[in-house]
């Protein structure tokens, strides 16, 4: 079921139309629905502040709608080109993504303390998002070459492939995006056939390494505070917290949890979230967009959103299971790792069960690069599934 029967050496060349007949419509609808809902949430989260500033209330929502359309186009393009071509181009794509990550240090735009963007007029491009796709393709291609039998040496190559963009993104600094690469790597390693003992050693090294990072000052104080503050954040947003940087993070997190809780079972209604309208959650249109969902549509609406995400994850997993070759499976698993890690980390941080890291919620958070990267990932998954018989 994972792939066509062995010995099928001359695959049928199917026409483009028959390939598109196998398009996973459920996956497309689920992602587009989430993204459209995201535009609405961005509108409600930014409307009042934009009005105060004398700008059009739809300023951000319009831009995000454009990203949505572009994302669907990118998804279509990536679905159209046979993924085995991407496998063959993997080295070049990966190399380009690493080059861009390097270039961002030279000509990049500095914003909010991180050197992570290229500025094109009023638009910014974030190469770390592109690097996620680059890494997925590179890892999948290399692993598939070794036919699922990963030796210590090939494992080392895989680790190195991931380590280069990881280090470059971590230096920006953008720990969150770097961790997404780690999640992608983990997924590919597990499904790609890394021997159990190697996985165990890797897990041990990771745990020890994380302990060391948190306790021995590898991270800057503000990074560590952000990572650990969710553990002891009070339930009430006390303004006294605002006196310190760590306290500000806790204050914001407390407001975030209050905002989600304020929605209750049914939510306060779209456009009626007081916390949202009064901007009590910082970065609400980007990393904390889920708080707008929680407050306005409550448990029912947020649960529905979560279910849509679950549908997306399920369809990606199905595509991985149905793929006709291992590279297809691993591309899907890479995309699954990227999206699920981001969903869990992002929602988890807004609800106070995960450390705060600058990770956008897929298809929801405001931002063009992330939106395009997510749709690109879905495009690849559609691609793999469409061509499971070809």
């Amino acid at each position: 079921m994972i792939s066509p029967a062995p010995g099928n050496r001359a695959p049928r060349r199917t026409s483009a139309t028959s390939t598109w007949l196998h398009l996973d419509v459920a996956l497309v609808l689920a992602t587009v629905a989430i993204a459209a809902f995201g535009v609405l949430m961005i509108y409600t989260a930014t409307r009042d502040q934009l009005q105060i500033q004398g700008l059009a209330p739809t300023y951000y929502a319009k831009k995000q709608a454009i990203f949505l359309v572009l994302g669907v186009v990118v998804m279509g393009v990536l679905a159209a080109i046979d993924y085995r071509r991407f496998r063959d181009w993997a080295v070049a794509i990966y190399g380009l993504s690493v080059l861009m990550l390097m270039a961002v240090y030279v000509v990049g735009h500095k914003s909010k303390g991180a050197q992570a963007w290229f500025q094109f007029g009023s638009y910014q491009f974030e190469p770390s998002e592109f690097a996620k796709i680059g890494l997925i393709l590179a890892l999948a291609a290399y692993t598939a070459q070794h036919r699922g039998r990963l030796t210590t040496r090939s494992l080392a190559v895989l680790l190195a492939l991931a380590a280069i963009p990881f280090a470059l993104i971590y230096k920006q600094p953008d720990l969150g995006s770097a961790l997404v690469l780690a999640a992608v790597l983990l997924g590919v390693l597990v499904v790609g056939g890394t021997p159990g003992r190697h996985l165990a050693v890797l897990a041990l090294v990771t745990v020890v390494g994380m302990f060391g990072v948190v306790h021995f000052g590898v991270l800057k104080t503000y990074q560590r505070d952000r990572l650990t503050s969710f553990v002891n954040t009070p339930d009430q947003p006390n303004t006294k917290l605002l006196a310190t940087a760590a306290g500000q993070t806790q204050y914001n997190l407390a407001e975030s949890k209050i905002t989600i809780g304020d929605g209750g079972l049914l939510g306060k209604g779209i456009g009626k979230g007081t916390q949202t309208n009064l901007s009590y959650v910082p970065e609400q249109r980007t990393d904390f967009i889920f708080t707008a969902v929680g407050e306005q549509v409550g448990l029912v609406g947020s649960g529905l959103l979560l279910a849509l995400f679950a549908v997306v994850a399920w369809r990606i997993w199905r595509a991985a299971a149905l793929a006709r070759d291992q590279v297809g499976t691993l591309i899907c698993i890479g995309v699954l790792g990227m999206l699920v890690f981001q969903i869990f980390e992002n929602m988890g941080m807004t609800m106070g069960i995960m450390p705060i890291a600058g990770i956008p919620l897929p298809f929801m958070s405001y931002g063009g690069s992330a939106e395009l990267a997510c749709f690109a990932g879905i495009g690849l998954v559609l691609n793999v599934r469409m061509r499971r018989f070809s």
């Binding site: 066509p4 597990v190 009064l278 698993i333």
Partner: protein, 652 residues
């Protein structure tokens, strides 16, 4: 195209991934359930209060009136320039313009705006007492001054009567941090004005009014988005005092004049003129203990506290070299009462049967008690005298003897028989008048003497109470200390037949009404008198004592006979009774305290008038003429100047 062989565990590995993903989603949903179902009530409540800020506008205080409705303290609108903080950020050109208008630097202005005594969103007054041209400039160029308001603020204003009653009305000032923590529950805000002294402090709750409350919605950046609700401030109630404004003014003037006269008098004991630095007077209605006047001099101008008193001015008002004008000597000064204390000794001796209304005592001018010899003033010999004569002519020997009798009968009456009556008259404890920081005075007892000696062995010669101490105490010497109000209140209690009231300052609290619309003020609370204690005397005993006090003024042998009457004086018909006191003060360089206390008409008293003049000589010499001038005012007579009267005989 080659199909890669699959690892054997591929299927299992995919399943593991699916299970992990499923668990992660389950965890997210569980957390969502916790926040939006279990924890939702708390979150909703927090969110409700999050975006609402409450702004308070302080209400104008109620006025303070005298017993006839004359305004002592009112309000006046003062021009002020205020700045709405969030509208004028650092670097704003508005700051430059405003600083130039105020004639100050931008740094100074920013310091004023940053004043943490004002709550966020509350306009900060940066220029109180702005000139009309400054106000006009801001109003005419409002476009240049966004966030700056030229407005008026309500401040206290004082009529001349109010200034004369400064020690009673007190003053207001900005609430301090400690008070704010204490009073937060009552809705006080940083920057609020609060009564700090006088009835402004003790009747704060009546005068304060209700602050206006405006609930506005703000976003997390502090932008005000709109008003949710708005209630206007309600002015505090007017407080009508028992004080009679013109009498208060007359009492202050009499004390001031008396001090001036005293300073022209030569003291044969200290061989220099009397220094007469300060004095006080009390006028009380003996029928209910209401206080008609409470004068102290030197006094202060309460208007100096409006908008915050300068440090130099405050230092002046509390400077001992300036005789501490802020000190209200009528309730805070503590003096030896001298012969006026004979009221207590006479009452106690009658109650305990040492004397009767008519018993006769042989005054030889001196007496030996223990190993001490006591003399009348100038060793005058008064011969066979009754209680009335002893009071009228102020025999010390008579009362020394009674004091000794009390101590010698301690087996039967206990150690503190005399002190007990003193306390019943209100000595040795606060009277409870509604003014802050009243002094207690001191009535010594064998216990207090022993305790004082134990605590300060070097300061006192002995810790033992001797018979002579009782003899001294009986004539208001030894360690007796009373406040002028205690003395007046004790005599008022005697004068009305033995009911010692708590001296009262407030008649009622009332609304302002609306004179323009013909709406009369309405009394919202009427205050009543409280009885502190009673000193029962049977009518014959009481009459004997009253006769003695009447004699002081009306009998040619009385110690104050020369003070009140001159041929044809209208006061002659007023039946004034009184008692002189001349308290020796043992401290180095101190001169005698001149004391006079009185009530009138003696048969049915309506006034009790007392004066105590520091370092001023005999009671008859200065205090009695001061009291006499206050009676002029009470009876509507032209004020006769205070003139020093030569004390006669045993005029203690």
């Amino acid at each position: 195209m080659a199909v890669p062989p699959e690892p054997a565990t591929a299927r299992l590995r995919l399943t593991v991934v699916l299970v992990v993903v499923g668990c992660l989603f389950a965890a997210l949903f569980a957390r969502l359930w916790f926040l939006q179902v279990i924890n939702a009530p708390v979150a909703t409540k927090t969110a409700e209060t999050n975006g609402v800020r409450i702004l308070y506008t302080q209400a104008p205080r109620g006025r303070i009136l005298d017993r006839n409705g004359n305004v002592l303290v009112g309000n006046v609108n003062e021009p002020v320039i205020e700045v709405q903080r969030q509208d004028v950020p650092a670097g704003s050109p508005v700051l430059d313009r405003l600083a130039a208008l105020m004639g100050t630097s931008v740094t100074t202005l920013q310091g004023l705006i940053a004043n943490t005594q004002y709550a966020p969103y509350t306009p900060v007054p940066v220029l109180p007492n702005a000139s009309p041209s400054q106000i006009l400039y801001v109003q005419e160029h409002q476009a240049l001054f966004p966030g700056v308001t030229a407005t008026t603020e309500t401040v206290r204003s004082y009529t001349p009567m109010g200034v004369a009653a400064a020690n009673i009305v007190g003053y207001v000032g900005q609430i301090t941090g400690t008070e704010l923590t204490k009073l937060k529950a009552q809705g006080y805000q940083p920057g609020d004005q609060i009564g700090l002294a006088g009835v402004e402090a003790t009747y704060e709750s009546v005068l304060r009014g209700q602050p206006g409350v405006t609930r506005v919605q703000v976003d997390s950046r502090g932008n005000v988005l709109g008003t949710i609700s708005d209630s206007a401030p309600v002015q505090g109630h007017d407080l009508r005092l028992t004080i009679d404004g013109p009498i208060q003014q007359a009492a202050v003037a009499a004390v001031q004049q008396g001090l001036g006269v005293a300073r022209t008098q030569y003291d044969t004991v200290t061989k220099r003129n009397f220094s007469a630095p300060a004095g006080s007077a009390v006028v009380e209605d003996p029928r209910d203990g209401t206080v008609i006047a409470l004068a102290t001099y030197p006094d202060y101008d309460p208007a100096a506290f409006v908008g915050g008193i300068s440090e130099a001015q405050y230092r002046y008002y509390t400077d001992p070299a300036q005789d501490e004008p802020l000190l209200d000597r009528a309730i805070q000064g503590q003096y030896a009462p001298g012969s006026t204390f004979k009221l207590v000794t006479a009452s106690a001796a009658l109650q305990d049967g040492f004397i009767s209304a008519n018993s006769v005592f042989h005054d030889t001018g001196s007496i030996k008690i223990g190993n001490q010899v006591f003399h009348n003033d100038n060793s005058e010999v008064l011969g066979n005298i009754t209680l009335s004569t002893a009071i009228t002519e102020s025999s010390d020997i008579y009362f020394n003897t009674l004091g000794a009798d009390f101590w010698n009968s301690r087996g039967r009456l206990g150690d503190e028989a005399l002190q007990k009556v003193a306390r019943a008259y209100g000595f040795g404890g606060q009277t409870g008048i509604a003014l802050p920081n009243e002094s207690s005075g001191l009535i010594p007892t064998p216990k207090s003497v022993a305790a004082a000696y134990k605590q300060y062995p070097k300061l006192y010669a002995t810790g033992t109470w001797y018979t002579g101490d009782s003899a001294q105490m009986a004539i208001g010497q030894f360690e007796d200390e009373v406040t002028p109000l205690q003395l007046a209140n004790a005599y008022a209690g005697f004068a009305n037949g033995g009911t010692v009231y708590q001296p009262r300052l407030a008649l009622d609290a009332q609304t302002q009404g609306d004179p323009a619309a013909g709406v009369a003020p309405q009394v919202v609370q009427a205050y009543t008198s409280k009885v502190n204690a009673t000193v029962p005397l049977d009518p014959a005993q009481h009459a004997a004592m009253v006769a003695g006090f009447e004699g002081v003024v009306n009998n040619p042998k009385g110690t104050a006979y020369n003070d009140f009457y001159f041929p044809g004086s209208p006061l002659e018909s007023k039946d004034i009774a009184g008692k002189t006191g001349t308290a020796q003060v043992t401290a180095a360089g101190k001169q005698d305290t001149s004391v006079f206390t009185s009530f009138a008409p003696a048969s049915a008293p309506t006034f009790e008038v007392t004066a105590l003049m520091e370092d001023s000589g005999y009671g008859a010499s200065i205090a009695a003429p001061v009291v006499r001038q206050i009676y002029d005012a009470l009876y509507g007579l032209p004020a006769q100047p205070v003139a020093a009267v030569t004390a006669k005989g045993a005029a203690t």
